[in-house]
């Protein structure tokens, strides 16, 4: 693959439920779990999305309708041309006896991580949460690959009613967890960090910021305190990277660079 923009037709679409879809393209690139591609909808905009799975000959990205761009993604049909460049960034490292925590559409980059861990015969436990049942995407895949899979939903339509962080410490203890992966809303990272920092468990979080270039030059996604460029040195950061970051949990910078 390359940094240059190229367009590819949508090959297949899965609808998980209202406003949540996965899109399939011919596999144009390798990617490791946590890496992302910039997706261009001609005439609309370009946004970064995690690669959520790779097959022999296909690449998958998974999207939740949220704003203008993701709303336009929902209207894509098979055969429509979509620009893709990447993959960009640094992905997850692979660890044994890990807990995978996914919040909402943050489950997407963890799906490819779960595959990579199981291919290496690493033991891991999944803890997935979302607003409602259909947003816990590919839950069967996680159940099959994990030694145990815990699910929470805000409305109680799947698994336990509540948040992924409610029983986090109990699960870590019971499952003898040695490493934590997480992807999801930033408030979830803040809470996880607060809970597990005292335990001294190492972790990797897959963060999000507004991005323009994807190639480490525009400075739009640099994190205060550290100067880390999330598109190059991230989007996956570990506990050491995060020590210098002073903006975890703050409102993100928008296209102008203001925090809003």
């Amino acid at each position: 693959m390359s940094d240059l923009m190229q367009t590819f037709p949508v090959k297949r679409i899965i609808e998980h439920g209202p406003g949540v879809k996965s899109f399939y393209f011919d596999r144009m690139t390798d990617a490791v779990a946590g890496q992302f591609v910039n997706v261009w909808l001609p005439g609309i905009d370009e946004k970064p999305y995690s690669v959520s799975a790779l097959g022999e000959d296909w690449l998958e990205i998974s999207v939740k309708a949220y704003g203008v761009f993701s709303g336009a993604m929902m209207k894509l049909k098979v055969g429509d041309l979509v620009g893709i460049r990447g993959p960009f960034g640094k992905g997850f490292t692979f660890r044994d006896n890990a807990l995978i925590i996914g919040g909402g559409i943050g489950i997407a980059p963890l799906r490819i991580l779960a595959r990579e861990l199981s291919e290496r015969n690493f033991r891991f436990v999944s803890l997935l949460g979302a607003a409602t049942a259909h947003e816990v995407i590919f839950v069967d895949d996680f159940r099959r690959r994990s030694s145990n899979c815990y699910v929470t939903t805000d409305d109680g339509t799947l698994g336990k009613k509540g948040l992924v962080t409610d029983d986090l410490l109990e699960i870590i203890k019971k499952e003898k967890i040695e490493f934590v992966y997480a992807a999801g809303p930033e408030i979830m990272f803040v809470k996880i960090k607060e809970l597990i920092d005292p335990l001294g468990i190492a972790y990797e979080f897959c963060l999000e910021r507004y991005m323009k270039c994807g190639i480490g030059i525009c400075g739009q996604c640099t994190l205060d305190g550290s100067g880390i460029r999330l598109c190059v040195e991230g989007p996956v950061l570990n506990q050491d990277d995060l020590k210098a970051v002073t903006e975890l949990g703050l409102p993100h910078r928008d296209a102008s660079g203001r925090r809003v």
Partner: protein, 305 residues
């Protein structure tokens, strides 16, 4: 040996982060100095009110450089003043504030307010080639507007030196540089991105940039930048920040031989990483050693007769 004097400033080396690259926040610019090795940094261009800029795609690599139409997005002067102050508290390297205005009056106001942050230099961006749809032709395409802006910025800049950033277009960079010097500019930054240019996706059959056109940077424009610096050096006596396509030390040496005092590096970060400044500084030093020169001054403008 790499130390260089520029106006009233002493830089530990002649490399400068060019405007528009990694210059949005103090943390980012600090990393460019501490890890990257830059001798000085330039902020992203800003004006009074925040701007979202153009939609994405706004920055696109192609085989010989980058095409960008970021559209002068910035968080507005209040935020940028805060970031410049924060940088100055945390970092010893000089910081250049890159300013622009939609009108000539706005150049005066943005300069007046920027002075409060006490940057080491105010760089005046009158040559951005990707905002035609909103602003019309850049001010830097007209000698008359260039004269007016230089004068008004100088009047409002107090003791802070002013460099005017020129493009290779319009009436010619040498003529424009002379106008700047005559109206009080302390330095010239040459050049801005070139163009505008365009890239088309051949499957969708439409321009890829949301703005359709954008400025070209990177290796593709090095010869245009070297020639511009060469001409400006002949035309004026004020120092030059030579910018455009510098990716490897040999490019920087060319710029110095053409007459540059400082070397702006932006797109080079894409090709060589943040430590491109360190790499170029070392390479220039090795060049001087190899040829028995003791300082950069000995070769500055050396390509002229």
């Amino acid at each position: 040996m790499s130390q260089v004097k520029f106006l009233n400033l002493k830089l530990k080396n002649p490399t400068v982060l060019a405007s528009g690259i990694l210059g949005l926040t103090a943390s980012s610019m600090k990393r460019v100095v501490e890890f990257g090795g830059a001798g000085a940094v330039t902020t992203k261009s800003f004006n009074i009110e925040w701007r979202k800029g153009h939609k994405n795609p706004s920055i696109l690599p192609f085989r010989h450089g980058l095409l960008n139409a970021v559209g002068l997005s910035n968080p507005g002067i209040d935020e940028m003043v805060k970031e410049i102050r924060l940088f100055r508290r945390q970092c010893d390297a000089p910081i250049f504030a890159s300013v622009f205005g939609r009108t000539i009056d706005e150049f005066a106001e943005v300069t007046r307010l920027t002075v409060e942050a006490e940057p080491d230099l105010i760089e005046v961006n009158i040559s951005c080639p990707n905002v035609h749809s909103e602003f019309g032709q850049p001010f830097g395409n007209s000698c008359e507007d260039t004269a007016k802006i230089t004068e008004i910025v100088k009047k409002n800049a107090g003791d802070i030196p002013v460099s005017i950033k020129l493009g290779p277009h319009g009436p010619g960079v040498a003529r424009l540089a002379r106008v700047c010097e005559e109206h009080g500019a302390d330095a010239i930054t040459a050049i801005n991105t070139v163009g505008p240019g365009m890239l088309i996706d051949i499957e969708v059959r439409k321009p890829i940039l949301s703005n359709k056109t954008g400025g070209v940077s990177g290796p593709a424009i090095l010869p245009i930048a070297v020639k511009s610096v060469y001409e400006v050096y002949k035309a004026v006596n004020i120092p030059i920040i030579g910018t455009g396509g510098v990716t490897v030390p040999e490019d920087a040496v060319q710029m110095i031989l053409a007459g540059a005092t400082l070397i702006g590096i932006g797109t080079g970060v894409y090709y060589q990483g943040i430590d491109v400044f360190k790499k170029i500084e070392q390479g220039v030093r090795e060049y001087l050693d190899r040829h028995g020169f003791k300082s950069i001054e000995e070769i500055r403008g050396g390509a002229h007769e």
